[in-house]
């Protein structure tokens, strides 16, 4: 087992849900090729809480996007929940992503002119989840994160922590097996950050969701099952 570029799951009693095998991804900036991910192999088990750590430009966001199927590797394979996503067409990959993966962003990216309830419903619109079912899930999830009384508000009327909680709830609407979060507490104060970390933990406990977070936040890292540190596109 290669110690630098390869990580294996520590939770051996569960099946691997993310398997990354010798993945390489580089970007062309002007005429220069910049390697972002440099031959990483990685396995993450179902229900695991993994933190991707590393300095800015280390490749953690790129790795997150590759796992989420938003980007494709130059070489190597990525298997998510037993599906080699490299082989999926754009259409099938979108369907797969919508049902299997939930995304949480640093800047939340809620629709400013949609009320919170509708904002949370958005992923369900793309998977053609029935309206009634969407409403029910929104209600249940909002209750879990304490936003029941905020569903008719616009994002501008909420605090940063409330918005991020709403964004996490939005990511969970389609009941994904994997939750990917890119610097979820990067824009929050310590109180709200702590609440978000608690929420991740609660989600994992309640739904068995695999959580992969790219972050600098040591508080999140402290709660993770595993910390994978990246440097120059490689696991160290």
């Amino acid at each position: 087992m290669e110690q630098t570029n390869t990580e294996t799951s520590v939770a051996n009693d569960k099946r691997p849900i993310v398997v990354i095998d010798k993945v390489v991804r580089s970007y062309k900036v002007k005429k220069q090729t910049i390697p972002a991910i440099n031959g990483i192999s990685l396995s993450i088990n179902e229900g695991e809480f993994v933190v991707l750590n590393g300095s800015s430009g280390s490749g953690k966001s790129t790795l997150l996007q590759l796992i989420g199927g938003l980007d494709k590797p130059d070489s190597g394979n990525i298997t998510i929940d037993g599906v080699d996503i490299k082989k999926l067409s754009d259409h099938k990959l979108s369907l797969f992503r919508g049902k299997t993966i939930g995304f949480v962003f640093q800047f939340f990216y809620l629709q400013p002119f949609l009320r919170l309830g509708r904002n949370i419903e958005v992923p369900g619109m793309f998977t053609r989840l029935k309206r009634k079912e969407r409403k029910l899930r929104v209600k249940q999830l909002a209750e879990i994160v304490g936003l029941s009384d905020r569903l008719n508000h616009f994002p501008a009327e909420l605090s940063g922590g409330q918005i991020q909680r709403a964004a996490i709830v939005r990511a969970l609407l389609n009941q994904p097996k994997i939750l990917l979060a890119d610097e979820p507490t990067g824009n929050l104060d310590s109180t709200n950050s702590a609440a978000i970390i608690d929420l991740f933990e609660q989600i994992r406990q309640q739904f068995g969701t695999t959580i992969i977070v790219a972050t600098h936040d040591p508080n999140i890292a402290a709660r993770a099952d595993r910390i994978i540190t990246l440097k120059d596109g490689a696991i160290i």
């Binding site: 259409h91 369907l95 919508g98 619109m125 793309f126």
Partner: protein, 632 residues
């Protein structure tokens, strides 16, 4: 793909994001399409109104006026052949006159006989011309015309045979070949008319007097008018009738309503009362004797106290002013020999084409029809409009309906005065005919194919094309062309509006889509397929289009309705004047909705809007969402 209701929810948020940009786009595009819609509604209204008014007068008919060349035009009179003929006629005339003078026992000096030709020296070169004062030249012209007659109706029928004509009508120019007419105001003749009054054929402003086929005159005949059998029926313009009724001219700044009221007044008064005008016709001898009576009376009065003054042997007197009789003879002290010599001289002159007998006749014209006045000036918009869309039978002439003229008890004597052959072939009006077609295309083709090209001197340049052909009576052909032009201009305007609107909408939607790249990336991360993104932007564009369509329709309909409300009444009055529809309840509308055409515009708005969306959206969905997120 995303449900329509969900796409609408997301698309609606986009309409709220860039409000100023969206509002400007909606306003600009709406105004463009509104202008197009208004133009369509107004054009439809005007076209329908014109079609309704077009059934008045000659407007709905396709008439072509055909005039044959005078065979003496086109340099014939300068040819060596004709000069030789005229000179020969001059020699023959002198011989004939010498023989006749000898027979009648009167003096004849051949040296005083005007030569048939004149020689003129120009730039050292002699050129020979016909002397129009010479009776020999007139004889030569008569002979030439006899040998080269003008093309007649049969030849016109032959020329028009392939163009599906539906009628051929004659129009004869009436003329006073020898003499003049003057109006007997209040029943009295003015024996000293001004030159203007004397040369005028009938009424001031009139250019000619025509006798036209009833197929041409019928639309202008007033309802219920009858003549007493001796009055000459006449169709005059409203302005002439206005003068005959003694109505003062309207001021130049009179409103359309004033004009309309005046026209109605003229129509009413002319229809209800027999409007007549009595004239006195005198031939040149009759007029000469009247003039002589006046000058003799003047001379005698001036020499009243002159004992040496010897009165003329034959003194003429004026007839009763209301009689239109020939001059009376107050005293005739001529000797028997003098009378005999004068009788022989009269016989001699009559033999060689001179009029020697006084002819006069009281002619009473009765207005039986009215035709819209035509304007030659085109100085005002109304004049211009009148010349474009109006129909007029008279075209500056007064017209005698041929059928009514034939019904007159005095038809023969009136015709002998008004339609007398002119002895001078140069003064003979060319034959006039009208050919009627059932549609503008046949009429236009006939004119294009068969009309001669007019030379500088007014003759046909193309051999085989015997007539000068002109659309006449109205501008139906030109109107149809105008309508086609308007349709093509509207078509071009539509293209222009669409292109402009597409540019505006494309740039606006392009910007919105470009601004939404991050949002697209987020949607993609949340599971949106490319087709979902396209659906969202398509619905967004449709919302925009529906707004544009609603505002365009509202503004366009409102503008057209406003124009109709504001100018409709005035236009109706104007149209009634132009189209000779004074006695109708027709209305001229600027507002008429053509559902099919408006539907086409709405479809154009939808298609152009969707077209605006295609390129920016395709560009957007082909982008890598990660790149957009990273750039963000």
């Amino acid at each position: 793909m995303i449900r329509l209701s969900d796409a609408i929810v997301i698309a609606a948020t986009k309409l709220r994001t860039h409000r100023i940009r969206t509002t400007i786009t909606i306003i600009l595009s709406s105004l463009l399409f509104a202008a197009l819609i208004a133009a369509i509604i107004i054009t439809t209204g005007v076209t329908k109104s014109v079609a309704v008014f077009n059934n008045q007068g000659l407007n709905n008919r396709y008439l072509v006026w055909a005039q044959a060349d005078n065979p003496l035009f086109g340099g014939v009179l300068s040819t060596k052949e004709f000069i030789t003929l005229a000179q020969q006629k001059g020699k023959d005339l002198i011989i004939a006159k010498q023989a006749e003078a000898k027979k009648l026992g009167i003096d004849y000096n051949a040296g005083n006989e005007p030569s048939a030709t004149l020689t003129e020296s120009m730039s050292g070169q002699n050129s020979v011309h016909v002397n129009f004062q010479s009776y020999a030249a007139i004889e030569a012209m008569q002979e030439y015309v006899k040998q080269h007659p003008s093309p007649d109706l049969n030849e016109l029928k032959q020329a028009a045979a392939n163009y599906h004509p539906i009628g051929f009508y004659s129009s004869i120019m009436a003329g006073l070949s020898n003499g003049n007419m003057s109006i007997m105001s209040n029943g009295s003749e003015n024996f000293t008319p001004t030159d203007d009054q004397r040369v005028s054929l009938l009424f001031p402003g009139q250019t000619s007097l025509m006798v036209d086929d009833s197929h041409l005159t019928q639309p202008f005949i007033l309802p219920g008018t009858t003549t007493n059998g001796s009055n000459i029926p006449l169709i005059v313009s409203y302005s002439t009738a206005e003068g005959l009724l003694g109505l003062p001219k309207l001021p130049s700044n009179a409103s359309t309503k004033d004009h309309y009221d005046r026209i109605q007044q003229v129509y009413r008064q002319t229809t209800n009362n027999a409007v007549t005008v009595t004239t006195c016709y005198r031939n040149s001898v009759s007029q000469q004797q009247i003039d002589q009576a006046i000058s003799q009376a003047d001379e005698i009065a001036r020499n009243k106290s002159n004992k040496d003054y010897q009165k003329p042997s034959l003194i003429y007197g004026l007839p009763a002013a209301n009689s239109c009789n020939k001059a009376t003879i107050i005293s005739d002290k001529r000797t028997a020999a003098e009378k005999k010599t004068q009788a022989a001289q009269d016989q001699f002159d009559a033999t060689f084409g001179q009029v020697v007998v006084p002819v006069q006749q009281k002619l009473t014209f009765q207005v039986v029809g009215l035709s819209p006045s035509t304007s030659n000036s085109n100085t005002t918009f109304s004049d211009l409009l009148s010349s474009i869309v109006g129909s007029s039978l008279t075209d500056g002439s007064d017209v005698i309906p041929a059928d009514l003229l034939d019904k007159m008890s005095t038809a023969t004597s009136v015709k002998s005065t008004l339609l007398a052959d002119n002895s001078n072939p140069l003064a003979v009006a060319n034959p006039n005919y009208y050919v009627e077609f059932s549609n503008a295309n046949d009429a236009r083709r006939f004119i294009t194919d068969k009309s001669c090209t007019t030379r500088m001197e007014g003759t046909c340049a193309s051999p085989g094309r015997l007539f000068q052909l002109t659309a006449s009576g109205n501008n139906s052909i030109a109107l149809q062309d105008l309508q086609q032009k308007i349709a093509s201009v509207l078509g071009l305007a539509t293209i222009g509006v669409v292109v402009l609107a597409v540019i505006i909408m494309t740039s606006m939607i392009g910007r919105t889509v470009a601004d939404g790249r991050r949002e697209t990336a987020v949607f993609r991360a949340l599971g949106a397929k490319r087709s979902d993104i396209v659906a969202i932007y398509a619905v967004y564009t449709l919302c925009l289009i529906i707004l544009i369509a609603i505002i365009s329709l509202a503004v366009g309909l409102g503008a057209a309705y406003g124009l109709d409300a504001y100018y409709g009444q005035d236009a109706t009055l104007q149209a009634k004047l132009l189209f000779d529809a004074v006695n109708t309840n027709l209305t001229f509308r600027f507002f008429s909705i053509n559902i099919a055409l408006l539907g086409v515009v709405v479809v154009i708005i939808v298609i152009s809007g969707l077209f605006s969306m295609v390129i920016p959206t395709l560009r957007n969905i082909r982008r890598n969402p990660i790149q957009d997120m990273r750039e963000e």
